[in-house]
């Protein structure tokens, strides 16, 4: 039995740390840990609830909009505010395009490197790549000359030694299965995705912000002005530009992202049987229409039983700390977020250390449970709940993908399933953006430019105490904020974020979280290069390193992989990059 530790030594503190026990080339047990204390809820106490979103937006550099959104929803829920129809549409648009961007970027810039051997692309025949590209899509950038140019650009970077990833990733690993021609196509699309995402930033700018952080959330609606006669507001020109950008997003998703996933997946069908996880799926649901019906429905599934979609009762959400570095008076049970406490008590080893004491407390993550069940959240959870709820477009898209792969529905419960579900969701969602924009345009045409319900803005109109919760689906899963308001100020604030569900440690009964469960049974070809572990962890799209973005002048921005051999000696592979 040997033990592998993956610990990003990013900046000052660690973030997500994975420890696994390997025996006979297979993972036997796993522990997920977050080694950095956040406790951001603490700085919200005593503040004006209307300003909370501007702080919660800083929880995280990737998920700024969702934390802002969850916060305004929690306050609106507490104060009984119904937002105007236009505000609902604007929120759907801001969030929807964010989702599409997040999923595309996750695939090309994070997850693709788990499946695509970039160095192998250097030996590709550009004509072969062109044939492949043309056989899967009518996307115009597909000529032999185009791919030859990408290959030249790639060689320049590899030869100049500037490409960090090529020095640091696991190139040449036996678990890479794509032919060089497919690898070159993926590299080309990686570059195109980078170019494409500028359109998303433009769409966000049109929806109300010059600043990279959106400034347009407002308790009661949105601060985005709508005025057909003003150049400084959403008007007919803005609508036309938005539609152009959304059409481009749709093109990219349907003609590049989806065909790429369908082209890569057949080489990795064994991953449809790896990385299953807890088999319980939770979705809060998202994208309400005019009547409040959600595009992706709310619900939960237990034990992979898609014949039954169970309702979500927020009172059944609890957080355990029996294996987390916090204190409760009674740690044998979890606490509901309204009663939630953030009393940090670190009992872990003093750095530097080899292992965490996984029998006791080993993470800053609490262990959230729904009715005492560990739940997976994210695109797969949303698609399974939607599929099981009879969502026609989701069912059709799922069936299309499964059909092309020649796989049955059981293939969804896996690492590959998670990656496919993210793409399926993007395909379904990107279709809605144009429709919502038309809805907004029609309202404006009819003279409805209302974006804010202001009757409860003045704290004089608030009750002495109030409590509420705001649910939202973030790209990486169900996000909830819970707020208690007393004397116009925040009395308690708790956020249960998607990665807390997925990276949950064991609870008081010893039940593992989704990452921990999903890793068990994973084959490991080479313990020094645990690519297989990254595949499954990446398939969840972890969102943990939210806290610190310190700039390391020496470029020590990498993961440390430590392999502990049976005899107890260990060989830390500290990979350095960025120094030239």
């Amino acid at each position: 039995m040997s033990k592998i530790v993956i610990d990003p030594i990013t900046r000052i503190e660690g973030h997500l740390r994975i420890e696994v026990e390997v025996d006979g080339g297979v993972v036997k047990d796993a522990w997920a840990s977050s080694t950095m204390f956040r406790g951001v809820e603490l700085i919200l106490k005593g503040r004006d609830p209307r300003e909370a979103w501007a702080i919660t937006q800083r929880f995280c550099g990737v998920c700024t909009t969702v934390h802002a959104f969850a916060s305004v929803r929690a306050v609106e829920n507490a104060l009984g505010i119904t937002i105007p129809n236009n505000a609902r549409i604007l929120r759907n648009l801001v969030e929807g395009i964010q989702f599409v961007q997040d999923h595309v970027i996750h695939f090309y810039h994070l997850h693709a490197l788990d499946w695509v051997d970039v160095v192998s692309a250097l030996s590709a025949d550009p004509t072969g790549t062109s044939d492949l590209a043309r056989s899967i899509s009518d996307w115009p950038n597909s000529s032999p000359e185009y791919f030859a140019a990408v290959k030249r650009k790639l060689s320049t970077y590899v030869e100049s030694g500037q490409l960090g990833p090529f020095a640091n990733a696991f190139w040449g690993h036996p678990a890479y299965k794509l032919p060089p021609e497919a690898n070159l196509m993926a590299v080309a699309h990686y570059l195109e995705a980078l170019e494409w995402q500028r359109d998303v930033i433009r769409a966000h700018a049109l929806l109300g912000s010059k600043n990279p952080h959106l400034q347009t959330y407002l308790v009661g609606g949105m601060a985005t002005p709508i005025d057909p006669n003003s150049q400084a507001a959403i008007n007919a020109d803005t609508i036309a530009m938005l539609k152009g950008l959304f059409q481009k997003a749709k093109d990219f998703v349907n003609r590049v992202y989806l065909p790429d996933v369908l082209a890569v997946a057949p080489f990795y069908l064994d991953w449809a049987g790896i990385g299953e996880g807890v088999g319980n799926y939770l979705a809060y649901g998202e994208y309400p229409d005019k009547d409040g019906t959600q595009l992706f429905p709310r619900g939960h599934i237990l034990g992979k039983d898609i014949s039954k979609v169970l309702p979500v009762d927020q009172t059944k959400v609890t957080e355990h700390v029996s294996h987390s570095w916090y204190e409760y008076d009674d740690e044998s049970k979890g606490l509901h977020p309204f009663e939630g406490e953030t009393r940090p008590k670190f009992t872990g080893p003093k750095p530097p250390y080899d292992f965490l004491n996984t029998d006791e407390k080993y993470t800053w993550m609490k262990a959230p449970r729904l009715d005492e069940h560990a739940m997976e959240v994210g695109p797969l959870a949303r698609m399974i709940v939607a599929y099981a709820s009879g969502h026609k477009q989701v069912q059709d898209t799922v069936n299309l993908v499964l059909g092309k792969l020649g796989a049955g529905p059981e293939a969804l419960f896996s690492t590959l399933g998670r990656t496919a579900a993210r793409c399926i969701e993007t395909v379904v969602l990107v279709d809605q953006l144009l429709g919502w924009t038309d809805e907004l345009a029609a309202n404006i045409k009819n003279g409805d430019i209302d974006v804010h319900e202001g009757s409860k803005w003045d704290p004089a109109n608030w009750p002495e105490t109030a409590e509420g919760w705001g649910f939202i689906e973030a790209p990486r899963g169900a996000l909830g904020h819970w707020i208690k308001i007393k004397n116009k100020k925040i009395e308690n604030y708790q956020a249960v974020v998607p990665s807390t569900w997925n990276a949950s440690p064991r609870d008081a009964r010893g039940v593992r979280g989704p990452y921990e469960t999903a890793l068990i049974g994973t084959p490991i070809a080479d313990p020094n290069m645990p690519l297989e572990i990254l595949r499954t962890i990446h398939s969840f799209d972890p969102c943990i390193a939210c806290g610190v973005h310190l700039f390391d002048t020496k470029g020590r921005e990498l993961n440390r992989v430590t392999v502990i051999n049976p005899n107890g000696s260990f060989s830390p592979l500290l990979k350095l990059s960025g120094l030239r």
Binding site: P8, L206, N211, I537, L550, F551, T553, K554, G555, L558
Partner: protein, 164 residues
């Protein structure tokens, strides 16, 4: 609502505003905007902890000035100035999209051919990195010096900033 102005210089404060000294870059740009009137060709941005999203703002500029907390094995409060190729630009193996930092952003900017001609980074070694909206007293006491460096860089780029 989409302003297409032609900026010559971008002052980019990065860091996490809720992690005390980690947010010094953001504190700096906030104060720069509060205290000084800057010419139109300078864009000042609070980049927070956003990664690749920021590349958009590099398009078309000549000069990029980054202010950030740095891990440079210095004494807390000490500053470092890096220029052009000395500013690390690479893409790292990541567990989470949150690990996309300034080096990744600069590297991606190179791939997209939107890397500015001149890049200067002013970094400060933090003394306190934990939850909090304020700087530590030590870094607070360095803010005037840091601001002076920033203003000097702007002059070097050919700009004038005046006290409001």
């Amino acid at each position: 609502m989409l302003e297409e102005r032609n900026f010559k210089t971008l002052v980019l404060g990065v860091g996490n505003r809720i992690m005390s000294d980690e947010g010094i870059g953001v504190h700096l740009v906030e104060r720069l905007c509060d205290k000084f009137s800057l010419p139109e060709e300078i864009q000042v941005l609070d980049g927070g902890t956003l990664g690749l999203d920021l590349i958009y703002f590099l398009e078309g500029i000549e000069n990029l000035l980054i202010v950030d907390a740095v891990q440079a094995d210095l004494e807390p409060g000490e500053m470092i100035r890096l220029q052009d190729d000395a500013v690390p630009a690479f893409m790292s193996l990541k567990i989470s999209p949150h690990q996309v930092g300034v080096p990744d952003m600069l590297f991606a900017a190179k791939l997209r051919d939107v890397i500015p001609q001149r890049i200067v980074l002013w970094g400060v070694q933090p003394s306190l990195v934990e939850l909090g909206m304020d700087l530590s007293p030590l870094l607070e006491s360095k803010m005037d010096t840091l601001m002076a460096h920033v203003l000097e860089e702007l002059v070097g780029f050919g700009h004038q900033a005046a006290l409001k």
